[in-house]
Amino acid sequence: MRCKKMVDVGRRQFLRGGAIVGVGAAATMMTGVQAQAATPGAQVDYPSSKLANIADLTVNDPVDIEFPDADSPGVLLKMGEAVEGGVGPDSDIVAYSVLCPHKGWQMSYNSDDRTLNCPGHFSRFDAESGGQQVWGHATQNLPQFTLRVDDKGDIYAEGASDLIFGRPSNVL
């Protein structure tokens, strides 16, 4: 069960980011040991993906997103009051991966108590507490996406707090 709205996630931007990684990896394999012209950064470089505009959001109404690429579903939420990691004028906008960090099942949002719930093995996470696992089997809290809001009210995702299920690197 997914959220109700789909928003343009800036597919072109993250495809471009992915292509750069791909080229780098291929070159490494072909040349064996030689460093590339561009030294890889110590951190993963995330794409900057536009998720929505503040005007698109209503309180407690989840918006489906994909970040950092189309294979990584997430949720964008306006909570109505300041919450951990919240951005925007009210510090209340947050975004999380919705792949359960236990076994990768896709979670659904319960708007009654504002939690994300996993149908696979009953884990649940609190959208108002930084994605903290309320109860469950995961060994980390939900990856929370780092958000930026520009002057026009556009919301961009540009990072993640934790490793996303099913990948050795958040940017593949």
Partner: protein
């Protein structure tokens, strides 16, 4: 603040990474994992890696993934290596599932590189001049042996009190129970001993064994093909997680109904309702401690309806009235079904009154368990029970009542049946006979509190967190051990002989010399004079069996931390030093009893112990059997594989009691209200029942989790689940620090408002280092010295408003809601 790891990339294990079989060393389920290790300067790629899959693609649900908690960097043969411990999809126990405990095995390893678990002990410590001074094995063991030898020869072995684990997994297992067992039960005959979680050396399930039924008699697969699952005082989603998810859930999906007997609604009930539908789940939320009356009522109804399995009862159970009379070693008589029914018979009205549930629900339970199908075939039922009754009211008779029902309905020894304890740790018990301990065994805590014993050897037990009557125990233990510390301080600068003299004088004056063997410097270890560092599974090879008797070798993939050692080799070291000291004292005959410990590895201890009794079983053969291992008892070795026993008693012959007739016995489980001294009065005098519960996120008393940021971030204080109306009445807000107190002592925790908590009933997490529930548990035990931790009453008051750490966490319901 929710704990963020800020990890967005992990090393990839290369295709040539070393792979080791790992059985999770935490709970009894013993999930299979694979440990991958590879050199510090190597890595795999997305396309060429140990998993043989394309890691450049998003993996699907249930796909292979290394969570950050599954990764660390550890020492292996003196080198730093990458480590990933990943659940094994091919292990039939867990089929690739990981629990919140097992999936943290890697990050709960000690690492000088990543800084994890720096609380682990690396060297022996001796109390010297007011501090614990790191020292050598020779120095520390010499002191242990000199003091121990003096005391047991000047007095007797009864002056030596021993607390020792009896379990598998962790730092237990067949190797280590044998090492300690050989030392204390063969070289010596120590009778003043106790086990890690209870104040005497006894079985937690005497009655089922006396009835002829081993407490682990099924295969987990039985859950998948049964008609009804009954859980009594157990919370398997939290505490036997993958037995529930990988076996009970498929059972419910195959149509099994689920009966939960527990005063408290747990997340297991919630999950069962999600899987089976609420109409197929019956939660009998009985009054605390009334389990026996419930099972007696169900059995009475089943007998009266003619729903017993008459053929099974005739063929496999005793027919001649009383077989074993009630006496000091048997808190109830044992015999035929008719014999037992004389004490058991309980009407629906009586049962409903005692248990606080409706007659209709008791009838429903009886029907789900035993009412034959319309074609006359019998329903199959698996029953699991655990601490709710093991650490509950009238242990012997209550467990007997549960087993009675399974026997009467023919639900043991057949596919889709079983009557088993769910278990805590894995099992791994192999020791010389303990008959000299006696039954009932010494109530060791009371012995120590009363000034008995002069030396206390402690093996991986922290009674500060996990015993009953803990407040008094701690006061006395500290006072007595402080006397010895003072004496040692006074002997500063003297010779070894003068030091030993000072210690002996102090213990003869009422002091207690404490030797603590553990992996960390525990709370009770603060009273120790010598601390000896042990290692755990996978820092050594370790064999254990799980809750369906599945024996595996969990392989060593890393070095013991610092100079720590397997417990079996520490026991050998104690024995060798005892032999030397006793010979020096001129006591050759006694010294000779300490021969036979020339082990250089844990495998040597395994061969000296378990292998002697089970000659087919060797490390090499277990290695071949991998993570699926072999179910005990092992009956042979054929075609390169060990042959095991998937289910006990398939021939209908019951043997656990040792009777030649092979007939199971029923327990005359007459209900007598609160059995343990002081419980009824405590209930009458206090406002709240203080239930003692577990949480899936913690392993045992948090000895490793207390140093795990993810865990401590979630529950910075021990949670106390409490009804909102009760909180409001007492002026307690969410996350406030509260105190529970009664005549036994006081403890503290954090109020966690819980809709499903009944008024007047709170549920406090067990064994927390920040608040021992045992402080408020009275010393009452049953006739065989089994504690009733579960039944404690106290009053509650607010201590402080929620501290910042508590204010930052989620207090939402733990129940899944789609």
């Amino acid at each position: 603040m929710a704990y963020k790891r800020q990890i967005d990339r992990l090393p990839i294990p290369p295709a040539d990474a070393k792979v080791h079989n790992v059985t999770c060393h935490y709970c009894i389920v013993g999930c299979g994992y694979k440990a991958y290790t590879w050199p510090r300067n190597k890595q795999g790629t997305t396309t060429d890696n140990a998993f043989g899959i394309d890691l450049g693609e998003q993996q699907p649900a249930d796909g292979t993934w290394i969570a950050p908690s599954m990764y660390n960097m550890v020492r292996q043969n003196g080198q730093d290596v990458h480590l990933a411990v990943v659940p094994d999809e091919d292990c039939v126990v867990n089929s690739g599932l990981a629990s919140i405990r097992g999936a943290r095995m890697a990050e709960n390893r000690p690492s000088r590189v990543t800084g994890t678990q720096q609380q682990r002990l690396s060297d022996p410590l001796v109390w010297r001049n007011g501090v614990w001074q790191p020292t050598t094995w020779n120095d520390s063991l010499d002191l242990v042996a000199r003091v121990t030898a003096r005391i047991v020869t000047e007095g007797s072995e009864d002056d030596l009190v021993v607390s020792m684990f009896d379990h598998g997994g962790s730092a237990g297992g067949y190797e280590n129970t044998w090492g300690t067992g050989k030392l204390y039960f063969d070289s010596m005959k120590v009778k003043n001993c106790r086990i890690h979680n209870r104040p005497a050396y006894n079985s937690e399930v005497h009655s089922t064994r006396d009835m002829g039924v081993d407490e682990l008699n099924y295969s987990y697969s039985d859950y998948e093909v049964t008609d009804t699952i009954v859980m009594v005082g157990a919370n398997p989603l939290e505490t036997q997680t993958n037995a529930f998810l990988n076996h009970m859930v498929p059972g419910m999906r195959n149509g099994a109904r689920f009966i939960m007997v527990d005063p408290r609604r747990s997340v297991t009930v919630n999950a069962c309702e999600e899987v089976a539908g609420a109409e197929n789940v019956l939660h009998l939320a009985i009054k605390p401690g009334s389990d026996m009356a419930l099972f007696n009522t169900i059995l009475t109804y089943v007998v009266d309806q003619g729903w017993t399995d008459a053929d099974f009862v005739a063929a496999s159970t005793f027919q001649g009235g009383e077989a074993v009379g009630a006496d000091s070693a048997h808190p109830a008589g044992l015999g035929s079904l008719d014999f037992a029914m004389q004490d058991i018979r309980t009407s629906l009205a009586e049962g409903a009154e005692v248990c606080g549930v409706t007659e209709a629900d008791i009838v429903k339970a009886a029907e789900w368990i035993a009412k034959p199908n319309e074609d006359g075939s019998r329903r199959k039922c698996v029953t699991g029970y655990e601490k709710g009754i093991i650490w509950g009211n009238d242990n012997y008779r209550t467990i007997g009542a549960v087993v009675n029902l399974s026997l009467a309905t023919g639900n043991i020894g057949r596919e889709g049946t079983g009557c088993c304890r769910m278990g805590g740790h894995q099992e791994g018990y192999y020791r010389p006979g303990d008959g000299h301990v006696g039954r009932p065994a010494t109530y060791v805590d009371q012995l120590l509190i009363g000034g008995g014993g002069k030396i206390h050897h402690i093996w991986a037990c922290d009674h500060y967190k996990t015993t009953l009557n803990a407040a008094q125990f701690k006061r006395v233990h500290k006072r007595r051990s402080d006397m010895v510390k003072d004496a040692m301080d006074s002997a500063a600068g003297g010779t070894r002989e003068q030091l030993v003299d000072a210690i002996v004088s102090a213990v003869n004056a009422g002091g207690l010399f404490v030797v603590d063997v553990d992996i960390i410097h525990s709370q009770i270890g603060q009273n120790a004079h010598v601390v000896l560092p042990a290692c755990e599974a996978n820092e050594m090879n370790l064999t254990s069996m799980n809750g369906e008797r599945r024996l595996r070798l969990s392989e060593r993939y890393m070095d013991p931390f610092g100079n720590s050692k397997p417990d079996c080799l520490i026991a050998a070291g104690v024995a060798q030093h005892m032999e030397a000291v006793l010979r020096e004292m001129g006591n050759d005959a006694y010294a000779d009893q300490f021969k036979g410990y020339d082990w250089s590895s844990e495998e040597d201890a395994f061969m000296d112990g378990y292998h002697q009794g089970n000659p087919d079983v060797t490390y090499d053969r277990l290695r071949v059997m991998g993570n699926n291992g072999v179910q005990e008892p092992v009956t042979g070795f054929e075609n390169g594989e060990l042959v095991g026993t998937p289910r006990l008693y398939t021939d209908g012959v019951f043997t656990r009691h040792g009777r030649d007739d092979g007939k199971a016995l029923f327990c005359a489980a007459g209900w007598r209200g609160w059995q343990a001294p002081g419980k009824a009065q405590e209930e009458a005098n206090h406002e709240f029942w203080i239930n003692n519960v577990r949480a899936n996120i913690f392993w045992q008393n948090q000895f490793l989790d207390q140093d795990n940021d993810f865990v401590q971030d979630r529950f910075p204080y021990p949670f106390i689940e409490m009804n909102g109306d009760d909180m409001a009445r007492l002026g307690i807000s969410t996350g406030d620090l509260i105190e529970i107190s009664n005549e036994n002592g006081a403890t503290q925790g954090m109020a966690y408002p819980t809709d499903t908590a009944k008024p007047g009933q709170v549920a406090m997490v067990f064994g927390s280092p920040a608040g021992s529930q045992g402080n408020v548990v009275n010393p009452g035990v049953n006739e065989l010295v089994l504690p009733d931790y579960k039944h404690t009453w106290g009053n509650i008051r607010k201590l402080a408003e929620a501290p910042p750490q508590a204010r930052a966490i989620s207090f939402k319901s733990k129940e899944y809601t789609a």
